[in-house]
Amino acid sequence: MISILDIVSWVSLIAGSIFCIIGATGLLRMPDFWTRTHAAGVTDTMGAGLILVGLMFQAGLSLVAVKLVMILVFLYIAGPTAGHALYRAAHGYGVPMGESTVGIRSPEGGDDDSH
């Protein structure tokens, strides 16, 4: 009695929830701001995308699916834009890198772009 669409929808919803929790855990555990941004990016793309696609499979071909597509397109445009503004502001402010991140780069020497 369970259709293929339901199974695909549930798998997408659960995978999206797992990606959200993974990203939030990274937000807590990463050492400095520049690595935390990667963790936040996971939840914005994979988490939101998979959950909205799972809801689209539940909605079928209707106006609700069109609204979900609009939310998805707007999130995919606005998320990186706000993120880029945030990283640019943090870069201009001079947020320091963590000790472990700097320590990985230091043996190379020279090429240091952490202005």
């Binding site: 959200c20 929790i21 990203g23 701001f33 939101a48 799972g54 909605a59 999130l75």
Partner: protein
């Protein structure tokens, strides 16, 4: 299954709030609050399907717009200390 997705989103929002309270710089807090707003959009969408009223997707769309404008406004306020400046040249 909507309950499972809702639980995952709520756990994510709780962890984002903890990160926002704990973040050492203001940019960590903005990052966590931006993520919290995105998860609020997802929570409204999933709860609309959970209660059988997908019309709440309009609220989710409006919240996505407001969240984006709010993030940019807070960033501009942090950068310039004033929301009325028009360009970067006249700032600092």
């Amino acid at each position: 299954m909507f309950q499972v997705a809702m639980l995952g989103i709520l756990v994510t929002m709780l962890i984002a709030l903890i990160a926002a309270v704990r973040g050492p710089t203001v940019f960590d807090r903005i990052l966590a609050i931006n993520m919290f707003g995105t998860k609020t959009v997802l929570l409204i969408a999933v709860s609309g399907f959970l209660t059988g009223r997908p019309e709440w997707l309009d609220l989710a769309l409006v919240y996505a717009l407001v969240n984006f404008i709010g993030s940019i406004a807070v960033l501009k306020f942090v950068r310039f200390g004033n929301l009325a400046r028009d360009d970067e040249g006249s700032a600092s």
